[in-house]
Chain length 212, copies 4
Amino acid sequence: MDDHNDTNRLEAFSDGVFAIAITLLILEIGVPHVSADGSLWRAMRELWPSYLSYTISFVVIGIMWMNHHNMFRDIVRTDHYLLVLNLLLLMCISFLPFPTAVLSEYMRAGGHRTAAVMFYGATFTVIAIAWNALWLYASHGHRLLSHDVSVARVRIRTRRNLLGPIMYGITIPLALISLWISIVIYAGLAVLYLLPQDEAWRTEHSHEPADR
Amino acid sequence: MDDHNDTNRLEAFSDGVFAIAITLLILEIGVPHVSADGSLWRAMRELWPSYLSYTISFVVIGIMWMNHHNMFRDIVRTDHYLLVLNLLLLMCISFLPFPTAVLSEYMRAGGHRTAAVMFYGATFTVIAIAWNALWLYASHGHRLLSHDVSVARVRIRTRRNLLGPIMYGITIPLALISLWISIVIYAGLAVLYLLPQDEAWRTEHSHEPADR
Amino acid sequence: MDDHNDTNRLEAFSDGVFAIAITLLILEIGVPHVSADGSLWRAMRELWPSYLSYTISFVVIGIMWMNHHNMFRDIVRTDHYLLVLNLLLLMCISFLPFPTAVLSEYMRAGGHRTAAVMFYGATFTVIAIAWNALWLYASHGHRLLSHDVSVARVRIRTRRNLLGPIMYGITIPLALISLWISIVIYAGLAVLYLLPQDEAWRTEHSHEPADR
Amino acid sequence: MDDHNDTNRLEAFSDGVFAIAITLLILEIGVPHVSADGSLWRAMRELWPSYLSYTISFVVIGIMWMNHHNMFRDIVRTDHYLLVLNLLLLMCISFLPFPTAVLSEYMRAGGHRTAAVMFYGATFTVIAIAWNALWLYASHGHRLLSHDVSVARVRIRTRRNLLGPIMYGITIPLALISLWISIVIYAGLAVLYLLPQDEAWRTEHSHEPADR
């Protein structure tokens, strides 16, 4: 524990929760039961909704981990409310294995598919809102940011973060039309976030370590 | 491992247990089974006791993590008994997913509700007692505290800690009257601990990190 | 990662596995199913074998964590075989939730009790053997030890470690006589290891951190 | 968080995922249900496929952890794509408890055995491919490597890594002939990787820590 940088233990704890939540996802995929004359191959193939939702949830949590790490390069102090807001964010992220399992179970069930996708999308939306709350609190008036962080950079980050609740929120009503539109948006957002950020940002941002 | 501060590895291990226990809570919420002509929405809504107990348990463990962190700013040495007392505390905290699942299952079952809430409250009470044992051992005669910690501060902390077993203990008999009184006390205690501590305390306490 | 002390990452990884294995134990206690006119209190009481085996396993893993930490104060270098031996040790420790669950399930079932206890005791014995293998490899000819560690101290540690496989091994045939003899030995060993070590050892051993 | 070595947090997060995935494996072994006049001993013995697949998967993940640690002695910088490739690698590794459970369940079921082994082998192959992608990206033109790493050493590592997808890939069609050929190859590869690397490599490689 380092008194000189309070964010260390917060980040370590958050990393732990991210790592556990991401690894627990696999527990939601149960071994299929196949009779002696059935086909295990077919049973495994029919689990594709589980593989798909596992992949989306894993990538989304992974991206959130990377962005959390990124965000805490700028946030260099903590206070009581930041700890609380971070805890609420982690609570929403830790919840994700449940809607993931619901989606896996009901993705192919015609009548229940819409509800399952909307619940999944709603969880992402709530996570994105908690994320914005955390960032807006920390960045308001540069409250907990490093002096090195430019106002322009804060604005870029704020705008980028706002994309989350909007895009995830849109998937909720869209699920009424088609499951696949929502899935495409989740995948698209994931790819978008997986792409490197624009060069201008990166240049300002970079902390190239000296070679060891 | 740093020989100069024995509390480091204790804190890291404790953080790990806190992070895992808090993330495992979601595993206790099972995917509801809905027939083809049933309503998934309704089934999801009927899981509200699970959402409620997940939230309470998550927030309580989160608060305990923050307070543990806080307490180990003052405790700067360890000895054998402290390790043992901390282990007992972690054992009680790791137990929490079980009464949480019991409460989720039986909160709506008229006949079993009282037993489920009392069991949940009793677990919190035991955790709070273990917490006090740890603190009283470490702070007795300033045994393992930093010299910077004033006697007044020790007294504030001791009193604050004693609130836990008393308040949680009270919820046990109160559950005989109504489930909701206990729930309100859990929520109230959580909010109370989530509020920042009083200014006098904070000023003495603060270790404002220099900007990086 | 610190190239100057290779044991850091080994210890961090081991701590992670200890913390996860210890916290997963609770997942093996399932919520009891009680009919509307049954008694939840009685159902909860009948889970006492689960509480008992949870407690023993938790304390034993916790003690192993403390001793692992202790042992790696003396072991200051790693090599390939130490990593492998440590991995095998962790494999045995991670296995523990399974015999714990078996014991919980069958402790009250007259006909199966003996098998469940013997399996539990055998797991402990194998863990203790893996532990000795690790220590004997590291300490042989002071291979991976710090120069500060006296020969006398190595001998104390070696003797102390040998107690494990012998005592745990003895519980296997004793289970044929009575479940409770074995349980008493597990509890007794746990209490023994929870007691502080003798003063002479502690004096030589102590790394009292300077106050911060 | 240390801005001077970006790989620290990546390694810590990866270590967390490795530690959790390896420890979760035990959860896939369920307690056998035995009637009062059945034999628990026999039921435990009949779980040997679970013990076998637990052991193989545990050792393979453990080896991957050691090799990941090793590889990141040479990789001293990160960039966005490395984080993404590492995330994909972790996604494949976290998936492993599922094919492990499938293999445990169907290893003895004549008709399904082949499918279960092929699925298991395919997972290992995909992991090995992700591993190679990560290494090839990081080492291409010494992109993210330390200047200390010789070209010869990069070549050794590249060749060694390529062995993975080839050997694991071969087990997939071989499973059509016999389950045991594949199992022997998995075990053989594990033993091979558990053996220390050749002396020449080790000498160049060693970072012998000074005694503390």
